[in-house]
Symmetry: C2
Subunit: 305 residues, 2 copies
């Protein structure tokens, strides 16, 4: 799947992923009203609004970008109906030829990680049959448990030719509270990064590993250092745009081959119409505003690599 992702990045000349992290506040009133009329002001109504909102954006941008990253929390907050729309979104994006990175940040002891790996990347056995439950192409994984919490994901990745992005250095302001702590002079995030390189070496695609990592755009110096620590790992980079990362911060996240990083923007794309720059599109044309925001983001990123 890492090969497919790279292929998409190269064909579209766009190392960009759209974060499908819908807040109900982002959804235009017209869509909400229609959904509430059909399902009431219920969890089902909220989920339907999110689905219609997502579909509009995906239809408007799928030809420009190689991948999307739905953040499962935004669906999970609406309970079972929300998660049904997460699944519907995953399926729809795959139909549109997009690589789907499930931003789930799961991770647990071995037997539990195995269940998450089966549910999100692999399949579960039910009697004589087996099923893919959520079936994303990649997911994000939390490393706090160490290798035996990660290994079940690696096993499924090898079997299914899928991939993971392990959290190394996250984009949020307090990420340093634990991640920057120094162990014999080496910050914890770098220690995790070294493990990403080590574990990733066992799961190689054509040029890059199935095991990527997450390094926030908001910490460019650390991104530069981590690039060298994990030369064969794709870096999924959140924090561009709304969180404060700029294109010039991102140049060192890429390798000399022009590959090795994929930049995420969520709010900046899906809520573009709420941004002054794209306000002229108005609520009704929110998806066109998202398309323009994607085009501008791609141009911005291209200018720096």
């Amino acid at each position: 799947m890492i090969n497919t992702l790279i292929d998409g990045i190269q064909k579209k000349n766009a190392p960009v992923v759209a974060g499908l992290d819908p807040m109900l506040d982002y959804v235009p009133d017209g869509i909400k009203d229609a959904a509430f009329e059909e399902f009431g002001e219920t969890l089902e109504g909220a989920a339907e609004a999110v689905w219609q909102f997502n579909k509009g954006i995906v239809d408007a941008v799928y030809d420009l970008i190689p991948a999307v990253k739905p953040q499962i929390a935004m669906y999970e907050q609406f309970g079972v109906p929300g998660l049904a729309v997460f699944k519907r979104t995953v399926d729809y994006c795959k139909e549109k030829g997009l690589v789907v990175i499930g931003d789930v940040k799961r991770g647990d002891i071995g037997s539990t990680s195995a269940a998450y790996a089966a549910g999100h990347l692999g399949k579960v056995t039910v009697g004589s049959k087996s099923y893919y439950a959520f079936d994303e192409d990649f997911i994000t994984v939390n490393p706090y448990f160490g290798i035996d919490g990660v290994k079940p994901f690696l096993d499924v990745c090898r079997e299914e030719k899928k991939g993971i992005f392990l959290l190394v250095k996250t984009s949020n302001p307090s990420s340093g509270e634990f991640q920057d702590q120094k162990i014999d002079g080496t910050p914890l995030y770098e220690l995790v990064g070294r493990k990403v390189a080590e574990w990733g070496a066992e799961c190689m695609g054509a040029q890059y590993s199935y095991v990527g990592c997450v390094v926030g755009a908001t910490y460019p110096e650390m991104g530069k250092a981590l690039r060298k620590v994990m030369p064969k790992s794709y870096i999924l980079v959140p924090g561009y745009g709304a969180q404060g990362g700029t294109a010039k911060d991102l140049v060192h996240y890429f390798n000399e081959d022009g590959l090795g990083a994929i930049i995420n923007s969520s709010r900046g794309i899906i809520a573009a119409y709420k941004n002054e720059t794209y306000a002229k599109y108005g609520e009704k044309n929110y998806a066109e505003a998202s398309r323009k925001a994607v085009e501008d983001m791609i141009a911005d990123i291209r200018s720096c690599i």
Copy 2:
């Protein structure tokens, strides 16, 4: 909710939580056959089998213990139907007067943690209404993001009088890979433990904080040290039984007031009938085997505190 949990522990004289982590392999054939007959060998069929299995166990043990801990991964692997049964299990256990600890190990950047907090502990707003989506009493939280990934959970805990258990030292063999790394002589898990104490001080119940922690039974020396670091935090202790922790390992997880820890067993309870000790009950009486396993576990724990 910490007060309710402690009240339950004292009334039942049982600092014990049953982990509802059903693998399909644990479910007796009779239950699976009936579920598959009704729903086919499908995700819905698997979910129905898990539900019937859970209900049998809960009915058999609810009067003995104060709390249950469903592990969401075991439901999530069956996709949306599995998560519907997770919710059904949460609701049913609450009806039975049990405190429900959702073992979800979520954690992300602030805005995303806020969505998880709303979905699992609090409520979401849909138009002019609001809904509790999963509505557990407590959940487990991963600390890797630092305070701004944890704060949204604390905010909801204060508002809803609910609680969290932050991962400090997990029970799995490789938990030391990152958690034991020393920062100026102090292991990372202790650094996280100190934060649990600090953050917990802002969220106090009558005697203990709404902010508890997870420390595996498999690391008793660390448990002993961590008890002193977080005197006002309840320790949720996985790893008893199937993972290797014994009652005598657990004495130091408790405070002198006889409180401060609650011991989880999952496989040892829910799959008791598969254990030689309880094999005489047979598949058909799996729930009675679980009840006997709970009684034996309670006696074992009581003998050590």
